[in-house]
Symmetry: C2
Subunit: 326 residues, 2 copies
DNA sequence: CTGAAAGCGCTTACAG
DNA sequence: CTGAAAGCGCTTACAG
């Protein structure tokens, strides 16, 4: 691999001249031509490490994700990536495979690589996280979860769940199962349940039961099957679209018709929910938008601009065919 | 931000001693303790750029992807990421958003960032690609497409399509529509069609028509609807699972029952194909495996070991409910 | 075990 | 417009 010195030597000029040429400084036409040729011939590519060592502000934003095989994650990444590119910044992705320790390690690793800031698609915030936020000494922005003292962009889980609760009640459902996830996940496990609960509490005569599962479709299939047998709800409100897909599969396997015998709802608004039949009624979150907002906010943070500590991304109840009007 | 000099000064030792401590060299117990404390207090994080400038072999492998919102892509990435981690290497992802020029730029950008090698989840290989492969002067490995003179890992599209063709023929189908994609995509557009065609040619009395669509579900819905009206095939062989999902949606919208009135098959083996009903018969590709193989091959390449120029990833016809036995 | 020094490949004032 | 020199934050022989 050629270095700037090689190029300088070959062109018969000083390193600094090459550097100036590369960075658009003032260079005479003749040396410009010479350099152009030498660089083309050699296929010279500057070493970013050496550049960054001297350079001004780094322009790489680190994004840490819990997993890659999730619609919400990839959509958010697309939003971040596109917006950062517009703002002349680069995105570095690091996957922690749902391992909280690895997530922490990744933060330190990124700090070492001198990213300008870190966007964390968060699931849980532990003390080790808070300590890392302090130590890395660069802006950190959470997406999907909020935490006191940390800039956060969240989906409006509570309101969305409240609206979803109201919606199924309006459709006449009174025997309702809610299939949620662990409360360690504040956004999905706590907020969606709480918003839904509040809607239920505003109405009398509702028979509601709460269940818990994981984010995995297979687990959702299994427990949904049990719920259908045990409780026979008229509607099954699922905390994510994937859980809802599992519930639909369970219903199908048991020969229970949707929505005639069982209504099902989700949260997320994954593309697939519109393609399947019956299409799924769900609370759609705008992940790409949230990603774009995250990118913008991060750029503001690294420029020392003030931003809101807590930003809500919007949502919408998408009414499809999976809920029966009783 | 503290540097190694600051730490050295604070601990009253030389920079080299700090460096040795950090890299597990021999350091006395006392200075070890001292350093430990100073580093903990200051939250010192070494600058990777400076490290890499000196360092031996870089351990970052660049992966360039055409898009993020694709099951095949994310699964392949997971495989690469996991395997690289095992082999003590890091993955850097760069998304080209289906823009071939950006793909090329990303290659040069990665070379500049001194990645050890580049894994390209390829769609098309142009001359500009070949030129970039030369210039970056580091190992390049294609996944999903093959090209003479370039190390490639491909799914066995041809054989899979041949098997799929045989399968639908065995099920008694003789009025067959094949819904493919542009031939610019050698793997999906050319190979899957060619393998299928060969199977068809081995049997007499088959009425087959070939159609073309994009990778987008919406386009597949539209054209499938036309195919159903115009040609009334007994089976619609789709070049990807997403296209098949679109076809299923089209059938549903028209009230055509699957598989009784129309059989449908796909390629890919996306998770969702098992969840929907009827579950989709498809040629499953093992994307995570392919990703793992890519990671292993890349590590061999950067260590100057010999590898096969063309490696096939395996596949399997997954028989589900979407094909009728006539 | 420890330190002084050279060097990795760049950039950036500073002279000329 | 151009070059010599210092320096970015590390690592790595080489002495001691």
């Amino acid at each position: 691999m050629k270095t700037i010195s090689d190029i300088a030597k070959m062109a018969g000029v000083a390193k600094s001249t090459v550097s100036r040429y590369l960075n658009g400084g003032s260079v005479s036409e003749t040396t410009k031509k010479k350099l152009e040729n030498v660089i083309k011939e050699t296929g010279y590519i500057p070493n970013t490490f050496a550049q960054s060592l001297k350079a001004k502000k780094p322009n790489i934003i680190g994004t840490i994700i819990p997993r890659l095989d999730s619609y919400a994650t990839t959509q958010t990444l697309i939003g971040i990536d596109e917006e950062l590119r517009k703002l002349n910044h680069q995105m570095l992705i690091s996957n922690s495979s749902q391992d909280l320790e690895r997530e922490i390690e990744n933060m330190y690793e990124m700090a070492r690589q001198k990213v300008a800031g870190i966007i964390l698609l968060a699931t849980q915030i532990t003390n080790a996280h808070l300590e890392a936020f302090e130590k890395v000494d660069i802006p950190v922005l959470l997406v999907g979860q909020e935490h006191k003292g940390v800039y956060s962009i969240i989906h409006n889980d509570y309101d969305a769940a409240y609206d979803m609760g109201k919606y199924v009640l309006e459709k006449g459902h009174r025997r309702i199962a809610f299939l949620g996830v662990t409360e360690k996940d504040i956004a999905v496990g706590v907020k969606r349940k709480a918003g839904f609960k509040r809607a239920i509490q505003e109405v009398d005569g509702v028979n509601v039961r709460f269940y818990e599962t994981t984010f995995k479709i297979d687990d959702a299939i299994a427990i949904s099957s049990t719920i259908i047998d045990e409780f026979k709800p008229s509607v099954l409100v699922c905390a994510t679209d994937n859980i809802a897909l599992g519930a639909m599969k369970a219903a199908y396997l048991k020969g229970v018709r949707i929505p005639e015998e069982l209504s099902i709802t989700g949260f997320g608004g994954y593309e697939i929910t519109e393609i399947i039949h019956p299409a799924l009624t769900t609370a759609k979150f705008y992940y790409q938008d949230a990603g774009r907002m995250a990118a913008q906010s991060m750029i503001q943070l690294i420029n020392y601009e003030e931003i809101e500590p807590l930003i809500f991304s919007k949502y919408k109840i998408i009414e499809k065919e999976s809920v029966d009007n009783l």
